[in-house]
């Protein structure tokens, strides 16, 4: 997914100004992908250079409107018809972080997992609040777009929590002694075990 695909999709409904496209892009994606207007105009300039969109002459207020070309429609149709592949997605930083934590000396991997579980659960709670108490509505299609994005974010968070729970079980089986002798410290927990001074370097020596 690129910004270009998003702009082409919005232009399918008719010509738009750059600012209009920015607002509609954010609305359609539930503000999960904020854009600045500079990004929008840079992308439009590139799409115009590549023949995907055509710019109209400036109106009385100096605003440029863009519309989809035949080539742009073809690109858009291709994008919608192809499944998203793993190569289209960025690497999962969390998976890499846990893998590195598991191989690095002196890192309490269960604590890394737990910190992430709390953060992801807090995020899921916030997303659930949005689902539970939806704000003022804009229009039918925008509501539907927002619900689709919101549900995607909720299910992604749920999946991450299931995976983290599974990681904890795997770590407990792999390192049972560490699991029982050193419960991970919790932020503000009543059950934080007595600890020596928190000197990271000390843990690595």
């Amino acid at each position: 997914m690129s910004i270009a695909h998003g702009l082409l999709a919005l232009l399918q409904d008719g010509p738009r100004y750059g600012y209009q496209l920015r607002v509609e892009f954010e609305r359609a994606t539930g503000s999960t992908w904020p854009l600045n207007v500079g990004q929008v105009y840079t992308t439009l300039a590139r799409l115009e250079r590549d023949g995907q969109v055509a710019g109209h002459a400036p109106d009385g207020e100096g605003r440029l409107r863009y519309e989809l070309t035949a080539s742009g429609r073809e690109t858009l149709a291709g994008w919608f018809s192809r499944p998203v592949t793993l190569g289209d997605r960025p690497r999962d930083e969390l998976a890499i972080k846990l893998a590195l934590a598991a191989t690095a000396a002196g890192v309490d991997v269960r604590a890394v997992v737990q910190v992430q579980r709390v953060a992801t659960m807090q995020r899921l709670q916030e997303l659930t609040r949005l689902k539970r108490d939806p704000g003022p509505t804009v229009s039918g299609d925008t509501d539907l777009a927002w619900i689709l994005v919101l549900d995607n974010l909720r299910f992604m968070a749920e999946a991450e929590l299931r995976w983290l729970e599974h990681c904890e079980g795997t770590l407990t089986r792999a390192r049972p002694a560490a699991a029982t002798s050193a419960p991970a410290p919790a932020p503000g927990s009543d059950q934080v075990p007595d600890q020596p001074s928190a000197d990271p370097q000390e843990a690595l020596r």
């Binding site: 890192v107 659960m121 000390e202 843990a203």
Partner: protein
């Protein structure tokens, strides 16, 4: 926010000496009036013990368990049974409705066991069923209801009368995702009306409906999403 349920530095030890097993250890959990708190943790982390202690079904070896300000350890068996009947409602994964009783009879049962006249109990039961949108099914047997409807009857039974604390053990465990969400919405509505709820669940999606999620491990609180996070070192032994 006033507190409906407090467990303060609670230990529950089974057995003695070398054979002693700590089911929970130094456990501190508070649930405020109107608050929904979810509890998550692996098997053996103390979730069921926490629910049993909170409901007075098990006695703490050390520490305090308070329901509406009453210290359960100081109550006589008779007083404890009365408090359980009047103040605490239970919701289970498999609903635990009596198959031969109608929805209204199931909901009225705890009131009648507490000495409320049958006619009065029936009136309160029908009212409680109306609040979970099941007034039309008051005279239906559990076998003629869907899983979601049966769980709503169970929630009506848990809150009927003066009950102020709901203890729920995997209340969405036997339901599909959509019906589970309806049950969570209902629990939240009950909490918005002033009931406190403590819910054990394995389902992160349903736990996220709670105001706070408490994570247990090895019989103790590991984390609580309601607490502000603090910077910490994740390096072992630090």
């Amino acid at each position: 926010m006033s507190t409906a349920l407090s467990l303060v530095e609670v230990d529950r030890i089974h057995g003695r000496g070398n054979a002693a097993v700590h089911a929970v250890r130094g456990l501190t959990v508070h649930v405020g009036v109107g608050e929904l708190v979810a509890v998550m943790g692996p098997s053996g982390s103390g979730k069921s013990t926490l629910l049993n202690l909170a409901g007075g079904l098990d006695r703490a070896t050390a520490g305090q368990v308070l329901v509406d300000g009453a210290e359960l350890g100081e109550l006589s068996p008779k007083e404890l049974a009365k408090l359980r009947r009047r103040r605490v409602g239970y919701v289970f994964q498999d609903f635990n409705l009596i198959p031969s009783l109608t929805a209204a009879e199931n909901v009225a049962l705890p009131l009648e066991l507490d000495g409320v006249r049958a006619r009065t109990a029936r009136g309160q039961a029908v009212q409680a069923l109306a609040e979970v949108d099941l007034a039309d099914l008051a005279d239906r047997l559990p076998q003629d209801m869907s899983g979601g409807q049966q769980q709503r009857v169970a929630i009506a039974r848990a809150v009927v009368g003066e009950r102020s604390l709901i203890l729920a053990d995997e209340p969405t465990g036997a339901l599909d995702s959509e019906t589970g969400e309806q049950v969570m919405r209902l629990l939240r509505e009950r909490c918005a009306r002033g009931v406190a709820a403590l819910m054990v669940t394995h389902d992160a999606g349903h736990a996220a409906w709670a105001d706070r999620v408490v994570f247990l491990r090895d019989g103790a609180v590991l984390d609580d999403t309601g607490r502000p996070s603090e910077p910490e070192s994740l390096l072992a032994g630090s």
